[in-house]
């Protein structure tokens, strides 16, 4: 096993572990948003854009993982 192997391994692990948190978080956001829409269907127009924005914010940590793995792979 040389350094190159560990580089690829590290990038894969970084991305995989980093994707866990955002996955759970976005699931919670989407679930709660759907719950809210189910309770009050008229508010769907207001809830949907906010849901997308909060999901994007939840994604941040995943994006950081992506940055790290891109740096490992190409930097």
């Amino acid at each position: 096993m040389d350094a190159e192997t560990f580089k690829f391994l590290g990038a894969g692990i970084a991305m995989g572990m980093g994707a866990i948190g955002p996955g759970i978080g976005e699931g919670i956001v989407a679930g709660r948003a759907l719950e809210a829409i189910g309770r009050n269907p008229e508010a769907a127009d207001k809830i949907t854009p906010l849901m997308f924005v909060t999901m994007a914010i939840c994604e941040s940590t995943g994006i950081y993982a992506l940055v790290i793995s891109l740096i490992i792979l190409f930097g």
Partner: protein, 252 residues
Amino acid sequence: MELSVKLAPDILFFIGSFPVTNTFFWSLFISLFLIIFTLFVRTRLKLIPGGLQNIVELLLESGYSFVKSIIGTEKKTQRIFPLVFTMFVFILTANLAAYIPGQSAITLARQEGPVSLFRAIMSDYSMVFVMTLITFLTTQIVAIIVHGPFRYLGKFINFKNPLQFFLGLMDLIGELAKVISLSFRLFGNIFAGEVLGVVMLFLAPFFIPLPFMFLGLLTAMVQAFVFAVLTLVFITMASEIEEDELTESASI
């Protein structure tokens, strides 16, 4: 055929010592298209709107009311709407242009091999970074105008007590992290979409990549929206005067 994934865009030609990359070339093209489209619609404005004008008016009005619902007042909306909506339209057009069929087949012959004339613009980090810097600078300028330079600086550096000092430092890091997360969100999504498309085409050329392309279309729309809305939210947050600040200035 081999799988090639590149982070940096390809250089098409040089003007003097200035390298013209394929993403830069296409961003000029998209800008030109949007300008001509706007002028075209503008010269044909009628009191009773026809087909195209109806669509544009619908987009503008719904966008305007959405921006107003977030930022609050009419005056602020009029100032911030052009920036946010331009960002949205530009990113959306740039992302969707990547799905025009057949454009990736157009290549320039070079001695290193064929260089694709087209590449999704937002998969070039320089472009996204510059757009994020526009957001960042606008946010800072708005915050400085609203809070005053010294009060704004005092939010980050104060020596009242150790906890406040630490929180100020955290705020400083938070501001810088905004730039990274905002820019890499758009870049990462579009770049990952491109790579996913390439890998799927490489593994199974027919029909299998289609669902991934639909996913990419969704990403293209959502990310354009998210970038514009986050810009809007950051500027809104910077432009709001907090409660304790109001009472503080009232007591003075």
